[in-house]
Assembly symmetry: C2
Homo-oligomer: 175 residues x 2
């Protein structure tokens, strides 16, 4: 199955000059969604994954499905101010300014194996912050998996440089 055929490309969204890769058309197709979940976890089949960490918001959809597939627990990586209990917070750089992500301080037990999931990796700033957070909580980050990679933005190389294996399903060079 060609998963890339299920991704819709929308020009000039969210602003002129940006070609947005929309995975809602993939998620809407039951067979493509199931295939994507199978392929996201495929390189990690030999590891026992205790928890799947999904990045808000599209990473929640895929992460929830991956956690179900692996019979693992799920932990949300959220934008700041959304989690109700004590959190760990990590700041990361955007093109202009900074942003922050959080996990609950008790979201991971020390040494627990975690697989990070998001829909897309571009510069990798959010994923890097999420992995840093998980490691601050003493998680063993087994890998990171994304439906879409924009390789020219360098995110997957940046995550691999953290010694985290990266799986991606569809690559758009030159985005």
């Amino acid at each position: 199955m060609d998963l890339s055929a299920h991704i819709r490309s929308i020009p000039d969204y969210p602003k002129p000059g940006i070609l947005f890769r929309d995975i809602t058309t993939l998620l809407a197709d039951a067979r493509a969604f199931r295939r994507a979940v199978d392929e996201l976890v495929q390189p990690f089949a030999g590891r026992r994954i205790a928890k799947v960490a999904g990045i808000e918001a599209r990473g929640f959809i895929l992460g929830g499905a991956v956690a179900h597939q692996l019979s693992a627990g799920f932990l949300p990586v959220r934008k700041k101010g959304k989690l109700p209990a004590e959190t760990l917070r990590q700041t990361y750089a955007l093109e202009y300014g900074t942003d922050e992500v959080e996990i609950h301080a008790d979201a991971v037990a020390p040494g627990e194996t975690v697989l990070l999931i998001d829909d897309l990796i571009a510069t990798g700033g959010t994923a890097e912050a999420a992995i840093t957070l998980l490691r601050r909580a003493n998680a063993d980050v087994v890998g990171a998996a994304f439906v879409i990679d924009l390789p020219d933005l360098g995110g997957s190389k940046r995550i691999e440089a953290m010694n985290v294996p990266v799986q991606s399903l569809v690559s758009f060079p030159g985005h």
Copy 2:
């Protein structure tokens, strides 16, 4: 399994006097998460569900897992301005003011069976707006399922009055 024992109650969040029901502790427990997914779909086992509609953001986690369990497609019900293609939009009342939810205009084929998923039903305003949207797209809304019901706020009765069967797993009277 007593799912309510996996829900954490946080006093005075997000503001004084509110007792917040936190499902991240349930999601983090692999067996409780899997059991919740099984119970969410249980009343609808006799229906063929084409798509699961999850409400942003916690409904994405549960909805992704439920779609995987049912081998169904997934469609996101999002806060306004988050979906990249043409949308249908529905306004609903809050305690003070209004809010809006959206689905993609092509998210459902006419007559497709849809199961709505969210973590919690309180007044039911968001769920009612989501069902109205799905029906505007000519979906057949087979049911709505929530982990938590706050029955004193009347949401589940309001949804049932729309002729949509409601499943909920844990009820907190008096919230």
